[in-house]
C-alpha cells in the first residue's frame, strides 16, 4: 500500500473524536502534512464549516448514534466536503444507513494510521487501493465466444491470471496452437500486463505478436494463431465501464455513481459475509434502472418453480414501492425476454412494426417498455473442454411508462443489462446465503430443542429413604425419543416411568414431550394405575400421531417393597434378585398411541432389600457391534447376574460401559436409555 505523497495534503475536520484516540489522529494526520481541526461537537463543526474551506470531514458517531441524522446535520442537503463516518461498531445496518445518507466512506475502530490513510484516499477518490476496492466487482475480464458460439466472460483474477490448454490455468482454452501454459496476466502499477510464457506459437494482441504488452480496454488477445479465439479485454470494474461509456450529455451520471458506490458497499457486505439486504439491493437496482430509462415504473420479476414469472420488487419513479402484489404490465414481453435472453426496448408501442400484438398492453395505457433478462454468468472449468460459461436467467428487469419513451442509445441499454446482471448475481448470492442461513437456523433450533428436552428430564439420580434411582440416556441424534421421569407421590410412594417413541430425532422427541405432558397432567393417586395408563393411551391415540407409537413402562413403588406396574408394549424390565435370579415384568397391554380402546392390566411384584429393577429401551439390547451382532438379552442377563450384589449406580455404569465397548466401532443407531432402581440397598 503506497504512502500518501507529501503534496496530497488536505484540510481535515474531525468532529467528535474520542479523547483516547485524539493523540493518534493528531500525530498521524499532522505528520503526513494535513491540516487538522478538531471539533468537539456537531454544532462546533458546523460553525467551522461556515468559516473555512474543509476538504474532508471525519464524523465520529457515538455508541448507538444514527449515521443519517449526523450526516444530515453536518452537511445538510448540499455537502461541502465528503464525510467519513467513524462508527463504533461494524454493523450491516449502519453501513447501509451510512451509504444511504451519502457518507463517502465508513471506518471502524481501532483507528490506525493505515485506516486513516485509506479512508482519505477513498473519500477523496484518490487512486483506489483500499480494501473495499480490492473487493469491488471484477477489475478486468475477457469476453469471448466459446466453440458453440456462446458468449463467455472470464474474470481476470488478481494477482496472476494464466491462460493455456492445461486445465490448471485460470482460463483454459482447448484450441490447436495453444500451449499448455501459454500466457499470463499480472498487475504492474495498476496495469494489466500480458506476458507470453514461452509458448510454441506465440501470443498476439490486436494481430501483432508480443512477448509482453500492457492491455488496454478493448484489446483483442489471441493465442497460438490469428485464427484462434479472440479474447476481448475489458478493463475497469463493470461500473467504471458504465461510467466511461455513458454519454456525458445524459443525466444519468448520478444514478450510476450511486450504483457504483453501492457496488463497493455490496462488496463490503460480501466481505462481512452477510447479504441480509436483498430487498434494499433490488430496490436500488430498480430505482437506478428507472432513472436510467426515464420510465415510470420498474419491476423485478423472478421465475418461480412452476415456470411463471412473479413480481419480486415493484417501484415507481419517486423511489417508492408500489402497493399490491399484482400489477398490470405487459404479459408477453417479460416472457419473450426471459425465453430469448435478449433485451426488448420499445419506445412507442403504438408506432412501428407489430403494434397489433401489443394491443392489450396498449389498452393498459402503457406506451413504452424496456425489459432485460436477469442473467448471471459463471465461468467453470470442467477439466475437459474449454471453460464453460454457465449462464442462468432467473427473471427479468422490466420497466414501463405511460409516455412515449426517449431514444435509448446502445450505451444505455448496455448499462441496463449490466445493472440486471449485477442484480442477478446478488439474488443468486442472497439465495445461497439464505440456504446456509436456513441450515444454521435449523441447527440452532435443534440445539434449543435438546436443551428443552434435557430440562424436561429429571435429574438422573434420585434417592428416597428406601429407594435409589439412577438413569442414563444416550440419544442417537442431537435429541431422541426416549424419555424417563420420576414422581414423588404424596402418599410416600415413588413413581418411575420409561418410554420409547418409535422413530428417532426431532419428531420422536416431540412426541416424547407430549407424553410427558399428558402424564404430568394425570393425578397418579386418583385411580388405579392400569386405568391411568388406559387414559393416557386414549389421549395419545386421539391426537392421531399416525403410525407413531410409544412403548412405555410405569412403576409405583411403596416403602414396603410392593411394586405395581404397567408395561405398555415395552421391552420387559428385569427384577434382579439379590441372589442373581431374574424375573421379567410383562403385565400390561399394547403399546400406547395406536388403539384408543386398548385396555391395560397391572402387574405386582414385591422387592426384598437389595433387589433391583432394571429398565431399558430396545436401543440397549439391539445395539450392534462391528460384526452386526446384537447386544441381546443373553448378554444383558449374564451381566446382571454377575452384578446382582452391586449398587444401582454400579449396575448402571457397568451396563453403560459394556454396551459402549460392545458397539465401540459402530455408530449408535438408536437411542439407548437405562434406569436402575435399588430397594433398600
Amino acid at each position: 500500500m503506497g504512502r500518501l505523497k507529501m503534496f496530497d495534503t488536505y484540510c481535515i475536520l474531525y468532529a467528535g473524536a474520542k479523547t483516547s484516540e485524539e493523540d493518534l489522529i493528531w500525530a498521524h494526520l499532522s505528520n503526513t502534512g494535513h491540516k487538522l481541526i478538531f471539533a468537539a461537537s456537531l454544532a462546533e463543526a458546523k460553525e467551522i464549516l461556515k468559516s473555512r474551506r474543509i476538504d474532508l470531514i471525519y464524523l465520529q458517531l457515538a455508541e448507538g448514534g444514527r449515521a443519517a441524522s449526523g450526516l444530515e446535520e453536518i452537511s445538510g442537503p448540499y455537502p461541502s466536503a465528503p464525510v467519513v463516518l467513524v462508527c463504533p461498531k461494524a454493523t450491516d445496518g449502519l453501513i447501509l444507513e451510512a451509504w444511504r445518507a451519502g457518507a463517502a466512506d465508513i471506518i471502524f475502530p481501532p483507528l490506525t494510521p493505515q485506516s486513516l490513510d485509506a479512508s482519505i484516499r477513498r473519500a477523496l477518490k484518490k487512486r483506489p487501493s483500499g480494501e473495499l476496492d480490492r473487493l469491488a466487482p471484477t477489475a478486468a475480464r475477457f469476453h469471448y465466444l466459446d466453440e458453440s458460439g456462446k458468449e463467455c466472460r472470464a474474470n481476470i483474477v488478481f494477482p496472476r491470471f494464466t491462460l493455456g490448454r492445461s486445465s490448471a490455468n485460470d482460463l483454459h482454452l482447448n484450441h490447436s496452437g495453444v500451449s499448455r501454459f501459454h500466457a499470463e496476466i499480472v498487475i504492474q502499477d495498476g496495469e494489466h500486463v500480458l506476458r507470453d510464457m514461452g509458448s510454441k506459437y506465440g501470443t498476439f494482441v490486436n494481430g501483432i505478436q508480443i512477448a509482453e504488452a500492457h492491455l488496454t480496454d478493448g484489446d483483442r488477445v489471441q493465442l497460438g494463431s490469428l485464427q484462434g479465439t479472440s479474447l476481448v479485454f475489458h478493463k475497469g470494474d463493470l461500473l467504471q465501464t458504465l461510467v466511461g461509456r455513458s454519454d456525458p450529455n445524459e443525466r444519468i451520471g448520478l444514478s450510476i455513481r450511486g450504483f457504483k458506490e453501492f457496488g463497493k458497499l455490496f462488496a463490503a457486505f460480501r466481505a462481512l459475509s452477510s447479504i441480509p439486504l436483498l430487498d434494499d439491493l433490488l430496490a436500488l437496482v430498480v430505482d437506478t434502472a428507472i432513472e436510467l430509462t426515464g420510465t415510470e415504473r420498474g419491476f423485478i420479476m423472478l421465475k418461480e418453480k412452476n415456470g411463471e414469472l412473479s413480481f419480486r420488487c415493484a417501484r415507481n419513479n419517486y423511489k417508492r414501492p408500489l402497493d399490491g402484489s399484482c400489477f398490470q404490465t405487459s404479459r408477453r414481453i417479460p416472457y419473450e425476454v426471459f425465453e430469448s435472453n435478449q433485451p426488448i426496448v420499445i419506445k412507442d408501442l403504438g408506432f412501428g412494426d407489430g403494434t397489433e400484438k401489443h394491443d392489450r398492453t396498449m389498452a393498459l395505457g402503457l406506451r413504452s417498455i424496456s425489459c432485460v433478462p436477469l442473467r448471471y454468468l459463471t465461468v467453470h472449468d470442467t477439466g475437459s473442454a474449454s471453460p464453460v460459461a454457465q449462464a442462468e436467467t432467473i427473471g427479468v428487469l422490466y420497466l414501463d411508462s405511460r409516455n412515449v419513451g426517449v431514444r435509448m442509445p446502445k450505451s444505455r441499454i448496455n448499462a441496463l443489462e449490466t445493472l440486471a446482471s449485477e442484480a442477478a448475481m446478488a439474488i443468486y448470492n442472497a439465495r445461497l446465503y439464505k440456504d446456509s442461513q436456513d441450515k444454521r437456523r435449523m441447527e440452532e433450533q435443534l440445539t434449543i430443542a435438546r436443551e428443552i428436552q434435557q430440562a424436561l428430564l429429571p435429574h438422573p439420580y434420585r434417592e428416597l429413604e428406601y429407594f435409589r434411582a439412577c438413569s442414563q440416556s444416550l440419544p442417537c441424534y442431537e435429541i431422541g425419543g426416549d424419555y424417563f421421569d420420576y414422581f414423588n407421590l404424596e402418599n410416600g410412594s415413588f413413581g418411575f416411568a420409561l418410554g420409547d417413541v418409535a422413530g428417532k430425532g426431532l419428531p420422536a422427541a416431540l412426541l416424547a414431550s407430549l407424553i410427558q405432558g399428558i402424564f404430568s397432567a394425570q393425578k397418579l393417586t386418583d385411580a388405579p394405575l392400569a386405568k391411568i395408563i388406559g387414559e393416557v393411551n386414549r389421549k395419545l391415540a386421539q391426537r392421531g400421531t399416525g403410525n407413531r407409537f410409544v412403548t412405555f413402562f410405569f412403576g409405583l413403588m411403596d416403602p414396603d417393597g410392593k411394586c405395581t406396574y404397567v408395561n405398555a408394549g415395552h421391552n420387559p424390565p428385569l427384577l434382579l434378585r439379590r441372589e442373581g435370579s431374574m424375573q421379567e415384568l410383562t403385565a400390561g397391554g399394547m403399546v400406547l398411541g395406536l388403539f384408543s380402546e386398548a385396555s391395560y392390566e397391572a402387574g405386582f411384584v414385591t422387592l426384598q432389600p437389595e433387589d433391583h429393577l432394571v429398565l431399558f429401551t430396545d436401543g440397549l439390547v439391539e445395539a450392534l457391534n462391528a460384526k452386526g451382532e446384537e447386544f441381546g438379552t443373553d448378554r444383558l442377563t449374564l451381566l446382571l447376574k454377575t452384578h446382582a450384589q452391586s449398587s444401582a449406580r454400579e449396575i448402571l455404569s457397568c451396563l453403560q460401559e459394556s454396551v459402549l465397548s460392545f458397539s465401540a466401532d459402530t455408530p449408535q443407531h438408536d437411542d439407548i436409555t437405562m434406569m436402575v432402581l435399588g430397594y433398600r440397598e
Binding site: G503, N547, P572, G589, M590, D618
Partner: protein, 112 residues
C-alpha cells in the same frame, strides 16, 4: 424393500422382502395396499417371510396398514412372521391385533 404381488382367487398376497424401517419401504406397503383397496380388493395378506430387518417404525407401519385395511372394510392377514417380527409384535403386545398364519393354505382358508 421389494413387494411382489400375486393373486390367489380373490386374495392379494404381497410377498415382501428386504427391510421395513423408517423411511425405507414403509411407504411402499402403504401405497400398494391403498391401491388394492381403491381397486375394490378387500382380502389382503402380507407375506413377511423374507423381511430381514424391521424396526419400531416398521411395526408402526404394519399397524397403520392394518388400520387402513380395516377402515376400508377389508381384512389383512400376516403370513410367515420372522422370529424378529414375532418377537417385536410380542413385546409390543400387538400380536393379538393381527391374524397371523404360518401356512399359506390355512391363511387362504381363513378368508373363505
Amino acid at each position: 424393500m421389494k413387494i411382489n404381488m400375486r393373486t390367489v382367487g380373490d386374495v392379494k398376497i404381497l410377498d415382501c422382502s428386504g427391510k421395513i424401517t423408517l423411511g425405507e419401504g414403509t411407504m411402499a406397503v402403504r401405497n400398494t395396499v391403498r391401491e388394492i383397496l381403491q381397486s375394490g380388493g378387500t382380502k389382503i395378506a402380507l407375506n413377511l417371510g423374507d423381511i430381514d430387518y424391521i424396526d419400531s417404525s416398521g411395526i408402526g407401519e404394519l399397524v397403520s396398514t392394518y388400520t387402513s385395511v380395516v377402515n376400508g372394510k377389508g381384512q389383512l392377514k400376516l403370513l410367515n412372521l420372522t422370529k424378529k417380527i414375532r418377537q417385536l409384535l410380542a413385546i409390543t403386545k400387538l400380536l393379538t391385533v393381527f391374524d397371523v398364519f404360518e401356512d399359506e393354505e390355512a391363511m387362504l382358508a381363513s378368508f373363505r
